[in-house]
Symmetry: C2
Subunit: 268 residues, 2 copies
């Protein structure tokens, strides 16, 4: 099932998207009563996809991100091997989250702002100390995240919270796919297409098979550190190919089966 | 006014503490209707301080912390000068927050766990890009925070989110003092008393006059990076004197005018 959060003519709602094309066109949006965790109940209200606007599919209480989870990205950013710089965890604040289509707003003082297209896990149940084999039992589903990062701030601050945590630096969406078997998660293409001056170039073109820590290992590791709450998001790390974005650009992160997360870049 | 959040015989509530001793003994707890932001309304219900239990005075949507804001602490932890390692920002997750008296739970794999007693700012209004001279207009009040940190994890991970973000690693309290003039904030003693094997020693004995970035500068800096929401907490940095705690110890952070934040340490 595809779950999204929408702005509709009368307000906002969680909905299930039914039917329609891969990009949602023509789908029916069936309103979910209350929250989307557990077995959803439906109110009976529906909208057509074309009359609604997609919002970030969830508002997480925290966003935990795995840094340095792809060896080729470690090399391109830090110029070191992944043995010297193993995966690490960091946090992005909830105020960084925006939805599909919302602008990534770049302050002038945040320079070298790059996209990082990633697979994101959405937690479905309160949990702690989840064993890797049980990871599916605590997951609501999957979506796409763009772990937007000002490289200059990242290196200047040492800690990454500001560089990766500015308002709008966590685009999320377009929706949550709740079927953990929507694809082979160990062999999932991850792409990012950057449009600059009207020309589109595919910058990231990698695969989840390059992850250093696997998805079951990540859920075990993160839940060992932090109690996870329904709606919390885990960003599984960015593959190589990240590049600078400037105001006027558009960035499109694509994961087959999850769709496209597209955001314009604006000056703030 | 002192605002706290309490567990009372029938449930939980925000209350104003009126009268009583400096440590709250004998105070009357007047229930606040709804939330404590803006001019509070009272329900008329009251409890005596002795029949309630203090909880973390607020549940923040995010905890932003200033690292390396006291030169002597930079020296003791990093063995470098503050010119080489200027103040930086990091995030602690909401799930790390516990109240006064609640145990700090130390997992076996989190080694060299130290206390860091700090002054905390609680935000009262949604805000962004606050000018330093306007800082008071967005602040609900002040409390004490213990920025508990596993030094070994901190250095191993590079990013501090795990070392400083484990469940229970953000004791907060005992209450929020809403009068910004409760003391001279530029000359505020900050102490931490560690009880180990029945002996109590004062380990931190410093003063906010040692801060590198002042409170107005911190509010400006943090709100430049992140939209702040009511209840968000800013930890203003730890002075020198931090030391290891082990299960069985009790740590008491004291700031005159704000009281004592006391937490036992337990094995998890």
């Amino acid at each position: 099932m595809r779950i999204s959060r929408i702005a509709h003519p009368e307000g906002m709602a969680f909905v299930a998207l039914e039917g329609g094309e891969a990009d949602g066109t023509g789908a029916t949006c069936r309103e979910i009563a209350g929250h989307p965790f557990g077995e959803p109940e439906f109110t009976g209200r529906t909208w057509s996809f074309d009359e609604v606007r997609l919002l970030a599919p969830i508002l997480p209480s925290k966003v935990v991100a795995v840094g340095r989870n792809y060896a080729d990205h470690v090399k391109e950013v830090f110029n070191k091997s992944a043995e010297h710089l193993p995966p690490t965890l960091f946090l992005k604040p909830p105020t960084a989250v925006v939805g599909p289509g919302a602008p990534i707003r770049k302050p002038e003082w945040a320079t070298r702002v790059e996209f990082e297209g990633e697979l994101a896990i959405v937690i479905g149940k309160p949990c702690k100390d989840v064993k890797r084999d049980d990871w599916k039992s605590v997951v609501l589903g999957f979506t796409i995240v763009n772990d937007v990062s000002s490289r200059d701030l990242q290196f200047a601050d040492g800690q990454w919270s500001r560089a990766k945590g500015l308002d709008s630096f966590c685009p999320l969406g377009p929706w949550i796919e709740t079927d953990p078997d929507f694809a082979d998660l160990t062999d999932l293409p991850i792409k990012a297409h950057l449009t600059h001056d009207g020309e589109t170039e595919t910058k990231q073109d990698s695969n989840s098979n390059q992850m250093i820590k696997s998805i079951p290992e990540i859920v075990e590791w993160v839940s060992q550190a932090f109690t996870l709450l329904p709606g919390d998001v885990i960003c599984t790390g960015s593959p190589a190919g990240t590049a600078e974005m400037v105001p006027g650009d558009t960035i499109d992160v694509e994961i087959p089966g999850l769709g496209h997360l597209v955001n314009p870049v604006e000056a703030y």
